[in-house]
């Protein structure tokens, strides 16, 4: 499968995520050094965690008060985390593992053997959150809706939705499994044959996906901003946190995350004892109640009822595939065949200041990405200095994916650094290049190491963007903070266009490029 990445890129991505988290909490760079998540610290558990757990701050605080143990999460997608574990790269770097689910982990014996014990802490099923107006228009009774009805509404063009990228987010992966199991008509755990049989239907279904995201948080933000998407697919707990959605658990079955806190064989008995104490605290009635009240997840002790608003009607549990070939095969066909393809313009600063190490880092990062581009993906490289230097577009053709990827590598290799920095003129060119009308996930990546010194200014770009309509206006810019670029300037571009800022000053450039993949 082509979408496997190098361990180095994974670690870079993790570091970038950690750096982003530190920045969000307002740390200075001095604090950041002290807070290095990879350094062991007595009384602190370094937890490799699913990003969905970022809503647990109140619970972590409570656990610290109860046990004296601090939970320090490093957020990562399930597949990356399992990969890290399997390669032994988590040994000594993490004290515990806390994914939304260990189902995928179990399919990788080399990763599963790193886990000593796992204890489910709470649960949340996959669900669909729909605008109340859409529910009404479709004539749905929320407690009776099935995947079949959802599929029909998508086919009729009456329902569009957003979901997270299954390759990077556990919620996206669980959603994919739920949809595939339900639409394949499989009566028990999915097989390769079920997936093959369901492919045409799945292709239809994923035509309705209008939003993709590397994280549940940004998905909700983009949904609100876009205003034209009817629904979100995600965990019930996430959807309950988005105001104004009618949350529906389809009657014909869901996959449920049970959030097992897991101790690792590579850790000391003392560390595992800390994990056990935290687990025990998490399962007390008081903490279970706090969890369900603050995160909309369901308790795993019989003595605590689910929070108000969590419907207790039963749903069939769809079995998770029992083999890695089925799970990876489904993922691969989603990326390369089922989902709408993506079109991306990489607007790349190759001004004079990029000469030397910076240009080398950019080339390495871009070359690394060629291991990750999907079939049917359209990639445009737009290097700029004082003006746009060239516009080269390549498509990864499923019949000969290597040719397109080789061409991207070749163009990358030929990049040279000279000239000023025309950020806004180049961005306007990128929008012009993309045009409108194609049925794709369209976005722009902006990488710059300095402030705007040439071409039009920020005000001009603001006016340009505001005059855009339709699909063009829905195209976000994902700026990467690098070298001496201005956070304020780039944050403004992200806010204006509905994108998200990625930080390669704290993290690495490869890490930032990797993380953005989830949003393309």
């Amino acid at each position: 499968m082509r979408r496997r990445r190098s361990a180095r890129a994974l670690l870079a991505a993790a570091a970038a995520t950690a750096a982003t988290a530190a920045l969000l909490s307002g740390c200075t760079s001095d604090d950041h050094k002290k807070d290095d998540p990879t350094a062991p610290k007595p009384g602190t558990l370094r937890v490799l965690a699913s990003s969905e757990l970022s809503d647990m701050t109140a619970v972590f605080d409570r656990v610290r008060k109860d046990t004296g143990i601090t939970i320090r999460p490093t957020y990562m997608g399930t597949l990356d985390a399992v990969d890290l574990l399997a390669r032994g790269k988590a040994d000594g770097a993490y004290d515990a593992l806390w994914l939304s689910s260990d189902d995928y982990l179990r399919l990788r014996p080399d990763a599963a053997k790193k886990v000593v014990s796992e204890t489910p802490v709470m649960s949340s099923p996959v669900a669909i959150g729909v605008r109340p107006a859409t529910v009404k228009a479709l004539g749905w009774k929320p407690e009776q809706v099935t995947w079949g009805q959802i599929e029909q509404a998508v086919q009729d063009g009456r329902l569009t939705y957003g979901m997270t990228d299954p390759a990077r987010s556990n919620s996206g992966f669980s959603t994919l499994i739920s949809v595939a199991s339900a639409l394949s008509g499989a009566q028990s755990a999915l097989t390769d044959a079920d997936v093959a049989k369901a492919t045409p239907r799945l292709k239809e279904f994923f035509k309705g996906q209008k939003l993709t995201s590397g994280s549940s948080g940004w998905l909700a933000t983009a949904y609100k901003r876009r205003g034209t998407v009817d629904a979100l697919l995600n965990y019930e707990s996430v959807l309950k946190g988005v105001p104004g959605l009618t949350v529906i658990r389809p009657g014909d079955g869901v996959v449920t995350a049970d959030y097992p806190l897991s101790s690792l064989a590579s850790t000391s008995a003392g560390t595992r004892e800390d994990v056990r104490r935290v687990t025990e605290d998490l399962r007390t009635d008081a903490v279970q109640k706090l969890i369900t009240d603050t995160t909309h997840r369901r308790p795993v002790v019989a003595s605590v009822p689910p929070a108000a608003g969590l419907d207790t009607g039963r749903r069939r549990e769809l079995p998770f595939p029992g083999s890695r070939s089925v799970a990876d095969g489904l993922l691969s066909s989603y990326e390369n065949e089922l989902r709408r393809p993506s079109r991306t313009v990489y607007v790349l600063d190759t001004s004079g200041s990029m000469a030397g190490e910076r240009l080398t880092a950019l080339k390495t990062a871009l070359t690394g990405l060629t291991g990750d581009f999907r079939d049917r993906e359209e990639v445009t490289l737009m290097p700029f200095g004082s003006t746009v230097k060239s516009v080269r577009t390549h498509v990864v053709d499923p019949k000969d994916p290597k040719a397109g990827l080789a061409a991207i590598r070749q163009d990358t290799d030929g990049l040279t650094a000279d000239g000023g920095t025309a950020i806004y003129t180049s961005l306007e060119k990128a929008y012009d290049h993309l045009g409108g009308g194609k049925d794709t996930f369209t976005s722009i990546v902006l990488m710059t190491d300095g402030e705007n010194t040439a071409g039009v200014d920020a005000g001009d770009f603001d006016g340009f963007y505001r005059s855009l309509t339709g699909i063009r206006r829905d195209t976000p810019v994902f700026p990467i903070l690098f070298g001496d670029s201005s956070r304020t300037e780039l944050q403004h571009i992200a806010d204006l266009t509905g994108g998200r800022l990625f930080d390669a000053q704290q993290g690495s450039l490869d890490g930032a490029f990797e993380e953005i993949r989830g949003y393309q």
């Binding site: 004296g68 886990v115 000593v116 014990s117 489910p120 449920t256 056990r276 039963r314 029992g322």
Partner: protein
Amino acid sequence: MSGSGSTVPGVRRIAGIVLAVLLIGGVVAAVVAGRHGEDKGTATKTVRGVIGSEKADFFADPDVVKALAAKGYTVKVESSGSWAMDGLDLKGYDFAFPGSQAPADQLAAKYHAQEPLPRPFYSPLVVVAHRSAADVLAANGLAVLDGQHRGTLKTGAYLDAVRADRTWQQLKGATAHGELTGTLYITSTDPETSNSGALYLADASYVANGGKVVASTADVGRTAPLLRKLVSVQGAQQSSSDSVFRDFVSGAGNPLVLMYESQIASLLIQQHTANDLVVLYPDTTVNSDHTVVPLDANGRALGELLGTDPALRKLAVRHGFRPQGDAAEFVSAAVGVSGYLNQNLTGVRQAPVPTSQVLHEMTRRARG
């Protein structure tokens, strides 16, 4: 505790180290203070063990901690799948406490533990079902209910249904319950790492083998296709019996789940109710003999104590286990919840468990 006088200098030395640690990192203080509190009064021996997850609540119970302390023990445990214990480095541990005899025998051989191994308590495997699922099984001759919350699963009929790939939709009365769709199957744990999952296969293989324990290669071959089916329909399996129990309690997961009677009994004994849950005793079931593998003298002493100390036996019952040798203790504690439990295991036949070698081969082929 004997020899406590000679340990005093040692304790002082440890206290010195503790102080030094406190100066370095203050967070350790809470842990040490907690331990000091537990130890108050008698000097205790700290005994460390690896246990099956189904006994984690027992060892965490403050009354169990107290009862053990009264006998001079502080017990530190860590959970692991019973079959996964074989892969752990047990250096520094005093005992292992898997959920049945087969993994215990294997560990005993590996660590040269002396037979007989202490078997302080046991628990039969049961299937818990939501009311709706139990009713549908009963209406279709797959189960017999004797009351609102208790019944017997017809193991043979169930295995026939599995052989025929029966779905819930094909069963009378299932359409009234939206969640009852898809292939009819019982959820178990992963038989390769977890004891209850392996015992499920032991049970099914006994019935499928015409009421004889699977012993020969021919027996294994004959039963393999059915066992393979029992496992493959489930997809990815949980690795511990505690996990499947938690999923069931939280309302997630399959409507039929295999677990230890002790798990459901402890919930009932402590809470007296479990909503619409029905406990189905397979008419042919397997007992899990919770077996202590002593790795040293302290481990053995603890294992003996768990089976002989009346207070600890009583606490074992509180956690749903049946102490060896005397049914009355369990029956009297379970009196308030007799609507759920078959206290005397009336009409339940015990299937013997194959040797660990045969069981390994069976699970390997079942997992495919």
